[in-house]
Structure formats: C-alpha cells, structure tokens
Symmetry: C2
Subunit: 164 residues, 2 copies
DNA sequence: AATAGTTATGTTATAGTATAACAGGAACTG
DNA sequence: CAGTTCCTGTTATACTATAACATAACTATT
C-alpha cells in the first residue's frame, strides 16, 4: 500500500499508526528482534504524535504509562527503534519521529517547517545517489547519511503571517 | 584559486589557513560585519584543527588565549561565524569546522569518517538540487539544509584494521 | 566631542541532551 | 536447569546549549 500523502497532507492518522505498528511487528519478527513493552510503547507514542518529539518528551509519556522516570529508559528504546529503522532521528531538532515508509528500503530526507514545526519524510533516492556519487569522487564510502532541510511547508508558505 | 584537494588529501594546512583567514576578512568587510578578537581567534582555532571541534573544545583554546571561560563566549563566536558562512556546524558530531571553500557559494555536504573522525567538505550542488526538487514535490520550500554522511574515508577504507 | 543608538562582551545561572556503569531479572539455548 | 544473552532498573554524571541582565565598545549624527 503505497503512500501518496506526506506529513503535510491531512490523512487518517490513527489508521496510519495502526498499520505502521503492524508492519513494525512483522519486520522485527523477521529480524529476530523483540518488541518489548517499552519499545512498543515508545513507538506508539511517536506514531501518534503529529510532530517530532525529544527524548525527554517521549520519556514523560512513557512515565505516564508506568515506566520508570529515567533517561536511559527512553534513550534505549529510541536507539533500538532507530537501529531497526522504525524511528528516525532529526538531528536539527534533537528529536525523534516514527518512520512513515516502513515498507520501502529508504534513507529519507526530512523536511522541517520552521513555522509550524511539522516534519515530513520525503523520498530521497535521488538525493542519496547524488550524495554517494559526490562522496565517491573523494574516495569516501557512505554508510549512513543525514539529510535534513529547514524551510516552509505548503501551508505555512501560503500563510504570510509567520513567514519571513 | 580553486581547491583540488579535500580534507582527505594532504596539503599545506598552514598556508591554507592563512588564505582562508584573508578571505574571511574580505567577506566580512563586504558584509559590514566585524571580525572581533574572539571571533578571529575562534576562526583561527578551527582553521588550524585537523578535525571538527566541539564548542567546549573551542572554548578551552579560547581560554588558553586569555578569553573568559564561559560557554557563551564560544557559542556566540561560533554562531556568528556560522551565520557568516565561515564555519559549518556538523550536527552529527555536535561540532564545528572551518569552511574550506570560502570563495564559492555553497551549501556543502560533509563526509565524516567513523574510523579516524576526519571531516571533509564535499561540493554538493547536485545533492542540493536533488533535495530541493524532492522537497518541491511536496510543496516544501527549502531554505537551509544539513547534509552529512557517515562512512569511511579513503585512508581508513584501505586499512582494514579499524574497519567493520 | 557629546549624544543616542546599536552591537558586542562579561557574567551568572540554568536548561536541555545524552551516556557510563553496574545490578538484577527475563528469555532463549543447549 | 545451567549457561548465556539480552533487556530493564537505577544511580550518577557528562556533555551541550541558552536565557537574562549588566557593562563596555563602536557608529553615526549633531
């Protein structure tokens, strides 16, 4: 089921989250990894958030679900989910967001709206290719990459108030 | 004077740094900005470092030159230099590196070697174009971007010890 | 050169982000 | 059911970054 929407276009978030959770379970099973309670809960939290969350925000919500109020609780779950490709880290925001394209192999680009702080995951195969190529010209072998853009999302761009 | 080397290829670092400092002065003069002692010193520090430095590392060295031992001293200088395009921030490392291509208009990609921690600035016009295009397809307007790759530099790639 | 406006620095304090390290428990493996 | 590995609980601390306000330095204009 391909997605024809981005985080910038409205969609059925709940259904989307449920589907993503199911995919996550599948992927982890295949990889022989365990979706323990904290991990599952952390993923839920991110899936249901409209924006990227900092580790301490995730922690707060984990605490609300009964987990211990200690940073490693959140960081460990988030690190795990990121390693499994279920969650992405937005470095510019020191924040985490659930992966929205779990089916596809991907190393996406993130578009961060500086006005409304929405974060969208954009397909970025061409960007990756260009980066790998540019790196290769210096003899560098790319293993992982971070591609983030700061700017204005469609909605905020059309609303001149917060712009500029 | 175009550069045909990257941070991965050996070169006359001192001469390079001196040239860069001269260019920096020129650019700031044109922009009507002041290269105050702290700013100059911070830039020198980064220009003479083979690797990216954290803000507190820069601070240490500023202190050694007689400046106050307070974080804002370093952060303010670094922020200024970054705004002027003389220094780049490597988000993956929470570190800063002097710009190596001051002449050219650029929003470069950074190649970070996970073995020796060297950081190279790669020309990335194509990458930028690809990113802007991908963003445009979602109606997003890119203003600034962060493009970083983690991997192995030529030297470390050919030295199987630290690899894998 | 005095004034007012702006920009930069000194300084104190604190907020925010992330990890090390070790102890105990749960789940798989033979 | 013993050994192993992986996960969690917990304490403590390290690292990164900024707010806020006071003072000083520069700039432009009288």
């Amino acid at each position: 089921m391909p997605h024809d929407h981005s985080a910038f276009t409205p969609h059925d978030h709940a259904a989307c989250a449920a589907g993503a959770m199911a995919m996550a379970e599948g992927r982890l099973a295949l990889a022989g990894q365990r979706l323990t309670p904290v991990r599952r809960c952390a993923l839920q939290i991110l899936l249901h958030s409209p924006r990227a969350l900092g580790a301490y925000e995730v922690l707060e919500r984990l605490v609300a679900e009964g987990f211990a109020n200690q940073p490693p609780v959140a960081y460990r779950a988030l690190e795990f989910l990121e390693d499994q490709g279920l969650v992405h880290r937005i470095r510019r925001l020191n924040a985490f967001t659930a992966c929205m394209h779990m089916g596809q192999a991907h190393a996406p680009a993130f578009l961060i709206c500086r006005a409304c702080h929405a974060v969208a995951e954009a397909p970025a195969v061409e960007v990756q290719t260009a980066l790998t190529t540019a790196a290769a010209e210096l003899g560098f072998v790319v293993e992982r990459s971070t591609i983030e853009a700061l700017g204005l999302c469609p909605a905020c761009h059309d609303t001149p108030q917060a712009v500029a």
